[in-house]
Every structure is written in structure tokens, then in C-alpha cells.
């Protein structure tokens, strides 16, 4: 049992991790500011996907409303900061807000056996989008919420050496830091006692329950953690863009997180990173391809729907474990 678990959750060598960390630290200055924005969003997607991957891989549940928790975190941070709370406190409140709401949904829904969470979270996201659009007095409605104060200070204000730290480049590193924090936290969590219980849960719910794992409570914990991650990422997003609107959090974004998690490998921390990277690159390629002259106006939509749908179907049929575990298996087989 332990060998099975260990081999399934075998960690890539620390050399590889150091390499990835170093490369991702060196990359941002080489990018133009548009690509830096993509990099920032990539780090935030990593944070959300790591949480979703845990939920799907360990608790065996699927959330179609992860973008709603992302939105809740963003609006929590944005509204609090706009109304005078110090920015760092507002950012810290973002994951808390999402986690509290997730607990409220999770307590009843996760008690039911089966895949009710999927539709409950889809319904939840539609409700959140409606509320964000209708509560014009608070959220600005469809027009959006502007005027969110920047996260970082402006150094030497008014002098020649004035330096505004709120550039896309700096946010690349803010996002990197948040993603690194979440990755380390999650790796420790997966190895801790509740993490081991959850891994048992993923193998056999009945077996885990018989061995004393509090199945319901643990599922709820993972769901809450995944929502907190999404909220944290949303908080950074709010400060990065300084503007929020319900249109930035469509159902498609939730689906995108699911695609990233399944592609990388469910329940795999580094799989989530790989999945997010591949999908972000794929979207860039698709956008470039769809903007070729001579293509119909709907080409970008058709390509992205086909890509998301195709990846989900093909990965589930032919790479059910995901990219990372499959790659690892190939490598170890080649070595052995």
C-alpha cells in the first residue's frame, strides 16, 4: 500500500524543481509587457489549479465553480482595499472570504454521495455572477469595480528616482511568490496525516472510512482549501488589474481550470503547474493561429471550444492519469 502511494506521488527530483524555479525566475524580464501579463495570469492559474487538482484527485469531487471563488476573492480584496483597509490585509481576507463561502456550500452538498457538487458549484457560480451584476451599488454591476488601490507602494514619490513598483514585471514575481507558497504548502499538506487520509480516500472511500478517516470532514477540508487558493489568486488578480467586472469570471474560466488540472494529472501538485503551463501556451498559440487573416470572425471561439473539449475528452480516454505521471512512468521505464 505504502509503495503504491509513494510511487504514485513520487516527487520529481529536486534538481528538476530547482531548474523550473530558476527558469521561471529568469523568464519575466525577457518578456514584453503583454507577455508579462500572461505570465502573471499563469502564476494565478497555477494557484487555482493546484487547489482544484487536490479536490479532484484526492476528494474525487469536481467543482465547476472554481472561477466563482476566484471572483469572490477578487471582489473581497478589491472592495475592502477600496474602502480603506490596508492592501495586505485585504489580500489576506480574500482566501478567507472564499473559504467561508465554500464551507457553507460544502457542509450540505458534500454529505450527499455522488457528483452533486459539480452542479451545485455550477449553480453557485451562476448565482455569484448574477449577484455581482445586479448589486450595482456595491460591485458596480456589469460596468465593473474600478479604483482599486495598487498593492505595492511607489518609491521616492515626487522625486526624479520615482519608481512605481506596480509594474507587470513586479507582479510576475508577486505571482511567482504566491504560487511557490501554495506549492510548498500543498506538498506539506499532502504528506501530512490529513493528506495521507485523503489519499486513502481517493483510493477507496469505504476503505478509508473503515480505517478511521473522517471522509466527510476531509472532503470538506479539501474543498475549502481549494476555494481558499482560488480566493487568494483572485485577490492578487484584483490588485494586478485594479479593475473587476463579472465578465472576467465566466463559466469558461472554471472549465479552463478543470482542463489544466486533468491535463497535468489529478492530485499532483506539479501536474497542476505543468497543466497550467501547457494550456496557457496552447491558448497563446491558438490566439495567434485564429488571428491569421482570412479566417472567419468566430475562428477564435471555435478553436478554443474545440481545444478545451478535445483536451478533456482525449486526456480522460488516453491519458487518464495526466501528463506528469505518464511522463514520469516513461522516464523510469526507460531508465529501468
Amino acid at each position: 500500500m505504502t509503495t503504491v502511494l509513494r510511487s504514485r506521488f513520487l516527487r520529481p527530483s529536486s534538481v528538476l524543481i530547482a531548474g523550473v524555479a530558476l527558469a521561471s525566475l529568469l523568464l519575466p524580464p525577457l518578456l514584453d509587457s503583454g507577455k508579462q501579463t500572461v505570465f502573471v495570469l499563469f502564476t494565478l492559474y497555477v494557484v487555482v489549479t493546484v487547489g482544484l487538482s487536490l479536490l479532484m484527485g484526492l476528494a474525487g469531487q469536481i467543482s465547476l465553480g472554481q472561477a466563482a471563488f476566484y471572483a469572490l476573492g477578487a471582489y473581497t480584496a478589491g472592495l475592502l482595499a477600496k474602502h480603506g483597509l490596508p492592501q495586505l490585509l485585504a489580500l489576506a481576507a480574500a482566501p478567507v472570504g472564499s473559504a467561508v463561502v465554500a464551507t457553507l456550500i460544502g457542509v450540505p452538498v458534500l454529505r450527499l454521495r455522488g457528483h452533486y457538487l459539480a452542479f451545485a458549484t455550477l449553480a453557485f457560480q451562476l448565482i455569484v455572477l448574477t449577484i455581482l451584476a445586479e448589486a450595482r451599488g456595491i460591485t458596480g454591476g456589469d460596468i465593473g469595480l474600478g479604483g482599486i488601490p495598487p498593492l505595492l507602494p511607489v518609491l521616492n514619490q515626487g522625486q526624479d528616482s520615482e519608481l512605481d513598483l506596480n509594474s507587470p514585471l513586479v507582479y510576475c514575481y508577486v505571482g511567482w511568490l504566491v504560487a511557490a507558497l501554495v506549492i510548498v504548502l500543498t506538498r506539506n499538506l499532502v504528506r501530512s496525516r490529513p493528506g495521507r487520509g485523503l489519499r486513502a480516500l481517493a483510493t477507496s472511500e469505504i476503505g478509508a472510512a473503515a480505517s478511521g478517516v473522517a471522509v466527510g470532514a476531509d472532503k470538506l477540508k479539501v474543498f475549502t482549501i481549494s476555494a481558499a487558493y482560488a480566493g487568494l489568486a483572485g485577490g492578487v488578480y484584483a490588485f494586478f488589474l485594479e479593475y473587476l467586472s463579472p465578465g472576467s469570471f465566466p463559466i469558461l474560466l472554471s472549465i479552463q481550470f478543470i482542463v489544466m488540472a486533468t491535463l497535468g494529472g489529478l492530485g499532483e501538485v506539479w501536474g497542476a503547474v505543468l497543466g497550467a503551463a501547457v494550456i496557457v501556451l496552447l491558448v497563446q498559440v491558438l490566439q495567434a493561429a485564429a488571428s491569421q487573416p482570412g479566417l472567419p470572425r468566430q475562428a477564435p471561439a471555435i478553436l478554443s471550444y474545440a481545444a478545451y473539449g478535445g483536451v478533456m475528452v482525449l486526456v480522460m480516454l488516453f491519458l487518464p492519469a495526466g501528463l506528469l505521471p505518464t511522463l514520469r512512468q516513461r522516464l523510469s521505464r526507460g531508465r529501468g
Partner: protein, 282 residues
């Protein structure tokens, strides 16, 4: 008073269509355990096919029949892909149905574009108790009644229907009795496609046709389906009617944009209620 009657009748009609979508969810879920996220897509596909068939000069009736047949075939294809491979876990099947829903989007946008389209149902109006109502409402109710009667006969009186029920109540025992459960599951998907297609050709003439309105249909259908815990078609019919009428009343007496919230709040409410009942049973 006449306004109330108007809302009730239009609510019952749309509720019947939701009930058809819901029964598709239930039929598939009972046999396979999969919550089919492509369920709303069958209805939209049938709507688009009807639109094109009418455009091509085919008469009413033939166009709708063609659309429902294609939706049935689409249901079978979704079934083959999502459960046809041996040992596909439930979560994987569910994700595959989401993915196929998006492939529907890609195909639909490629063929019919992303702008709303409209096709005609039954023309004309009828009067009832001093109200003027669209004939299409009658057609929806009649179509739903006939479908439910046929389903009842199918499940209780035909050999294939009894095989469905056998797989639903105990897949293992059904396999021991020599039933190919996977094949029956694919047939259940085809029936789900048929029901979704029916809902599409009946309801969509009253609405505008866009590729992503399947979310609305699927959410309403799912809300109706969980009235019976995704297990009982009869409860799904009741659920569909309740949601249809509630939405019509909310849209009529308050703001139309709150209409969508009805099924969403119902979903969360019913789930909470079922969970609390389950907690007591435990």
C-alpha cells in the same frame, strides 16, 4: 387573475420541456451513474437542425423528426465515448461529457455562427378563458404527455425497458444475468439524447436559439431531476412543472432577470434538504 392564468399556462408548458430534459438526466444517471453534462446540448443541437431543415424547405414534422433522430444519434455517440471504454471511472466519464459539450459548441458555432437564430413552431394562437395563448404551448404539453406515457410503457412493458430497470437497480446482478451493461448504458444515453432533442424542438421555437443557452436548459433540467434524487422520472416531471411555473411567476410579478435565479436557488435548497434528510437517516 387572467395574468395569473397566463403565467400558469406558459409555466406549465416550459416546465414540461424542462421535465423532458430532466428525464434524460435521470434515464442516463439511473443506468450508468453518470451525470451527463452534454444533456442541454442535445436540445440545442435539435433546435439548430430543425432550423436548417426548415430553411432547406422540409415541412414541419419531418424537420423535427430529423432533428430528434440526430439528437438520439448524438446521445449514442456521447455514450460510446464517455462509457464505451472499459474501466472508465465515473469522474472521467463526467469530465468527458463536459468536454463533448464543448465540442458541440465548436461544431455549432462553426456551422450556425454565434448569433441568435429563430425558427418557427406551430403558428397561430388559441383562446382559453378569455386569454389568447400560443398554440405552441399546447404542442409542448401534448408532446410531453405522449413522451411520458411512452416512457412508462417502455420501462414497464417492453423487454428492453425492463433491461434498463435491471441495470439501474443492480448492475452486477444484471451482468450475471447476461446483460451487457455497457451497451445498455449507451442505449440509455441515446434515450437521453432523444428526450433532450424532443425538449429542444418543442421549446426552442419560443426562445431564441444560441449555442450556449444549453447551460440554462441543463441547469433547469438538473434542478428538476434532483427532485427525485436523479432516480425517479415521475418526480422529475413534478420538478419540471414546479420550476417552470415558479419561473413564470417570478418573471411575471417581479424582475425578469430574477427568473434564472429560481432554479439555481432551488438546486442549492433541494440539495441542502436532501442532505439533512440523509443525515437524519444516518
Amino acid at each position: 387573475m387572467s395574468a395569473l392564468l397566463q403565467y400558469l399556462i406558459s409555466g406549465i408548458a416550459t416546465g414540461c420541456a424542462f421535465a423532458l430534459v430532466a428525464t434524460g438526466f435521470v434515464t442516463i444517471h439511473r443506468v450508468t451513474g453518470v451525470v451527463n453534462f452534454a444533456q442541454g446540448g442535445f436540445a440545442i443541437l435539435a433546435g439548430y437542425v430543425t432550423f436548417s431543415a426548415l430553411r432547406a424547405g422540409l415541412p414541419h414534422g419531418v424537420s423535427e423528426l430529423l432533428a430528434v433522430l440526430l439528437a438520439t444519434a448524438a446521445g449514442g455517440v456521447v455514450g460510446v465515448i464517455s462509457i464505451g471504454r472499459r474501466g472508465t471511472p465515473l469522474l472521467a466519464s463526467l469530465i468527458i461529457t463536459i468536454g463533448l459539450g464543448f465540442l458541440f459548441y465548436a461544431v455549432e458555432v462553426a456551422i450556425w455562427g454565434d448569433q441568435p437564430l429563430q425558427f418557427e413552431g406551430v403558428p397561430g394562437v388559441f383562446s382559453l378563458a378569455g386569454l389568447t395563448l400560443q398554440r405552441q404551448y399546447l404542442l409542448i404539453v401534448a408532446g410531453a404527455v405522449v413522451s411520458f406515457a411512452a416512457l412508462l410503457l417502455f420501462f414497464n412493458r417492453t423487454y428492453l425497458g425492463k433491461i434498463f430497470t435491471a441495470c439501474a437497480s443492480n448492475a452486477y446482478a444484471a451482468r450475471l444475468a447476461g446483460i451487457n451493461v455497457t451497451r445498455v448504458g449507451i442505449a440509455a444515453f441515446a434515450v437521453g439524447g432523444l428526450l433532450g432533442g424532443l425538449a429542444g424542438v418543442l421549446l426552442l421555437p419560443l426562445r431564441s436559439l444560441t449555442f450556449d443557452s444549453d447551460v440554462d436548459l441543463a441547469v433547469n433540467g438538473f434542478a428538476a431531476a434532483i427532485f427525485g434524487g436523479l432516480q425517479r422520472p415521475g418526480a422529475a416531471l413534478v420538478g419540471g412543472l414546479v420550476i417552470g411555473v415558479a419561473e413564470a411567476l417570478v418573471a411575471g410579478y417581479s424582475h425578469a432577470s430574477y427568473q434564472k435565479g429560481v432554479s439555481l436557488v432551488l438546486i442549492v435548497g433541494i440539495l441542502v434538504w436532501q442532505a439533512s434528510r440523509r443525515a437524519q437517516a444516518d
